[in-house]
């Protein structure tokens, strides 16, 4: 039987592609339309895992929940990018840190009509909806408390992360999917609510391309989770309105391989990644680090002057091992006592450059062509000196810094940090860079030459196509972006609701 003959046909009024922070919000916010007789479907590429499948075992979980097992690489292999692929998208695998975008950063986006007060109000809406709270002091582990105390001692501004948890038992496995469903991501809050209101969620379904109000898709069940609501095969899905929420890499890739009417020179361009690296220090005694919530504090003291931010973190053995520079005896010595490690992650704020972009290969798969700028490398280098100071002020006996001239810097040497680290050592490939905050690629704006969507996420010149994920950010958010993604998605959903008659009957 030919492919054409075996293609199933489906129809919705509205299709949402992707079920993460943005897809979840769009689904929930449009779900009241189901009561008015409209059909709304969410198409998710990844699986919906069963509760017992959240095992906390690192390799097993990254293979179940992340694209490429967590190792999506940039074209030059210099940065690994963490992207969730599951019912709930990346909200299943983030730590739930919830910061409202700073006013000056949003204003610097220069999007006409996008007001800070509106975004703040909508962010606060999701603080309530997703149960964003400050963790009680007694539930904060030493890895976090030592960072707080050290920052205070050094006079660095430090804040506590509000996190979206309810009933957190401190498994410390947020990045592997919470085994207790205590993290209030879209998979726990928005998607179930949307489904209750009549939205259909189809998992294990990849949208291959979009044509005029038609999506071509393929259902293929993963080897974990619940099977898709649709039987495996090729699908042609008609919809009056399509909202793409597939994230800042897969959204532009999908649009690039689709036959869209018009010319979009900015499509895929201006990607930003918040390039990140990890520093670790070793205490003489065990500390509580992998027990409890892993991420409680951040230091934005240098955000404006040096363009970087520090956050507490605690990773799993393989992730930790690959994040350290070097190999052999020293590396093993660092890894031999995971219970003595204190970790800090540094995020640099990168600028949107047209040359940094998502392209597609001959098969339509995304290629992230991103060059780490000298400015970012300078920020990362400066951040390492600051971070090493914090680690020593926390009481560690030795620090491993990726730009160190030797593997360990001992506490007796802490007055010579500038001498013991070298900007020359900070080379891509030599140090392990990572990203979990992918933004840009379908940026909002008025000019179709430098942007892809208008301020409402509507693709220029295509009234039936919206983008609502972090790809619409015109510049990076300079904070963990998920709350801003939700706030913008909320705004886009409201616009769709307000114009539904016109959008359904063009």
């Amino acid at each position: 039987m030919g492919m054409r003959n075996s293609m199933f046909e489906k129809q919705f009024d509205i299709i949402i592609i992707g079920s993460g922070a943005s897809g979840g919000v769009i689904a929930k916010e449009l779900s009241p339309l189901c009561k008015q007789g409209l059909s709304v479907g969410v198409i998710e590429w990844g699986p919906k895992l069963k509760k017992e499948e959240f095992t906390g075992r690192e390799l097993e979980m990254v293979n179940r929940l992340y694209f490429d097992g967590g190792g999506v690489l940039t074209k030059d292999s210099s940065i690994t990018i963490a992207l969730g692929k599951a019912y709930g998208g990346s909200t299943v695998i983030y730590t739930g840190t919830s910061l409202i975008i700073p006013q000056d950063v949003l204003e610097d986006w220069e999007i006409k009509g996008l007001e800070y007060e509106d975004i703040r109000r909508r962010s606060e809406k999701y603080f309530k909806e997703n149960n964003v709270v400050l963790m009680e002091p007694e539930l904060i582990n030493e890895n976090n408390r030592l960072f707080l105390d050290a920052c205070k001692k050094l006079g660095y501004r430090v804040g506590q992360f509000p996190v979206n948890v309810k009933g957190c038992q401190g498994a410390g496995m947020c990045n592997l999917g919470c085994p207790h469903e205590a993290k209030m991501g879209a998979h726990v809050v928005q998607l179930p609510e949307a489904e209750k209101n009549g939205v259909q969620v189809i998992t294990n379904c990849k949208i291959e391309r979009i044509e005029d109000r038609i999506c071509y898709a393929k259902v293929e069940n993963a080897d974990c989770g619940y099977p898709s609501a649709w039987e495996p095969g090729q699908y042609k899905i008609k919809a009056k309105l399509i909202v793409v929420c597939a994230g800042a890499i897969h959204t532009p890739a999908l649009l690039l391989r689709s036959k869209l009417p018009g010319n979009f020179p900015a499509l895929g361009r201006y990607i930003t990644l918040h390039p990140a690296l990890i520093l670790a220090g070793r205490h003489e005694r065990p500390i509580t680090n992998f027990y409890g919530h892993p991420k409680s504090y951040y230091c934005d003291h240098f955000a404006k002057t040096k363009r970087f931010m520090l956050e507490t973190c605690m990773y799993f053995p393989f992730t930790t091992a690959k994040s350290l520079t070097g190999f052999g005896e020293d590396h093993s010595a660092m890894m031999s006592d995971m219970d003595r490690l204190q970790m800090i992650i540094v995020l640099a704020f990168d600028r949107p450059l047209a040359s940094n972009c998502v392209m597609i290969d001959s098969k339509g798969n995304p290629i992230v062509d991103y060059k780490v700028s000298e400015e970012v490398m300078d920020a990362l280098f400066e951040s390492m000196i600051v971070t090493a100071r914090i680690l020593f002020a926390s009481g560690v006996k030795r620090v491993h810094a990726p730009a160190g001239k030797k593997f360990f810097i001992e506490d007796a040497e802490q007055d010579k940090l500038e001498e013991l680290m070298s900007r020359e050592m900070l080379k891509t490939g030599r140090v392990s860079l990572a990203s979990a905050h992918v933004m840009g690629t379908c940026r909002m704006g008025e000019d179709p030459v430098t942007s892809v969507t208008d301020q409402w996420g509507q693709v220029h010149g295509i009234p039936w196509l919206f983008v609502a994920d972090s790809s619409i950010f015109p510049k990076c958010s300079e904070v963990n972006p998920y709350i801003t993604i939700m706030a913008l998605a909320d705004r886009i959903a409201e616009h769709i609701r307000n114009n539904i008659q016109e959008l359904m009957n063009p």
Binding site: G69, G170, P317, F318, A321, F327, S336, D339
Partner: protein
């Protein structure tokens, strides 16, 4: 040791193991079955990658193995451990970005094979529990 791998040949698997002993010295103390487990993780990860990355990594393995031949007349694994470590450090610090990222990719696969195995966690004092909050004030 029986090899039945998807991406690695028996020869390449043997070289990965030799490389593993330099990257994570503890791997030399693993039993035969444990070494096989490590290689299977590496092989699975390679097999799961697209053909382009897989081929690049396989070629890079050969480059690492044979590049010392012109200086020392031997493949990497036949050199003293000190020389092997020096040469591997040269790859890590190479002036050519592709060489550095290639080496990073290989060592990452080996880290995955060793530290990704939860049987190793006790040895590195990584003992996560589901009720971690109860351990905070013990």
């Amino acid at each position: 040791m029986e090899y039945n791998f998807k991406a690695l040949s028996a020869k390449k698997a043997k070289f990965v193991l030799a490389l593993a002993h330099r990257i994570v010295p503890e791997t030399s103390k693993l039993g035969e079955d444990e070494k096989c487990e490590l290689l299977h993780v590496v092989d699975d990860a390679l097999a799961a990658r697209g053909p382009s990355i897989r081929i690049q990594m396989i070629i890079f393995l050969e480059i690492i193995r044979w590049s010392p031949f012109f200086r020392f007349g031997k493949p990497l694994e036949k050199l003293t451990t000190e020389v092997q470590d020096e040469l591997l450090a040269e790859f890590q610090n190479s002036l050519i970005p592709r060489v550095r990222t290639g080496f990073w990719g290989l060592k990452t696969l080996i880290f995955m094979g060793y530290y990704g195995n939860c049987k190793r966690w006790g040895q590195i004092h990584y003992t996560p529990v589901l009720n971690g909050n109860e351990k905070l004030h013990v």
